[in-house]
Subunit: 140 residues, 2 copies
Amino acid sequence: MVNTLHGRNYEQTELGPRLKPCAPHDVLSRMGDKWTILTLLLLAIAPGHRLRFSAIKNGIEGITQRMLTVTLRHLERDGFLVRHYFPEVPPRVEYELTDMGSSLLPALEGFTGWIREHWPLIEEARRTFDEEHHRRAGGK
Amino acid sequence: MVNTLHGRNYEQTELGPRLKPCAPHDVLSRMGDKWTILTLLLLAIAPGHRLRFSAIKNGIEGITQRMLTVTLRHLERDGFLVRHYFPEVPPRVEYELTDMGSSLLPALEGFTGWIREHWPLIEEARRTFDEEHHRRAGGK
DNA sequence: CGGAATCCTTTCAGATACTG
DNA sequence: CAGTATCTGAAAGGATTCCG
């Protein structure tokens, strides 16, 4: 028998509930990668929710051309943005948030707010843990 | 000059805002990993927010002993749960959510709700994209 | 300008074996 | 029972080069 809990499938066994990895996980893992949210955020605050490639690259400290391309392709594939290609010389490409794309960040706000609130506690917990386990500097 | 936007630091340049990777990112990336949320969820629905190692292992389909240990250590380090060790033979270890740990999932609910709502659109966007780019089956 | 292709290094995760 | 240690293959991320 399969039930649903917090939107996740699980089966009830004689030992208790048993959870399965579920589909929406990969949206969350995408948001957890290094550049995705920064990219979305930059587009979200841009006029018209639209920027050209070099503007995005310029707006994110440390991102390489390759990683930006990869990130943009993922976002395009999932329908969070659309790519507008202008075959001029030199070529120009603009990326524009879709409606779904712009609705994502506000939905995430609640959680990022929680993180900001609790961040000091987390850092303190890490320091305590690292001391007790005699780790040398910033273990993972 | 450094400002804050959606809780993120950025500097204002003559070319526009420039975002930096920020600290809270690593909480999000932890939640995006394969087992963390499942582990938290299982503890959250357990009586007393408390389970022993083998019970958790049993409750998550496909997790290995090693990955559960790693996941639990991370969560412990960040202060989301505490480890109770009973030096019996055979040994017994129980993991218990902290208050911070139990407050995390509800905070995430808004976003997981958004994901569930939009999941069909995302899947459709992927199909369309993959067709247009003549990809064979489930590109990344 | 905006990539794609390639190479390389680091990290991650699964499998397996051993231990207090 | 609840780990740790070790190995391996896979994946992520950066650097560099080339191209329409």
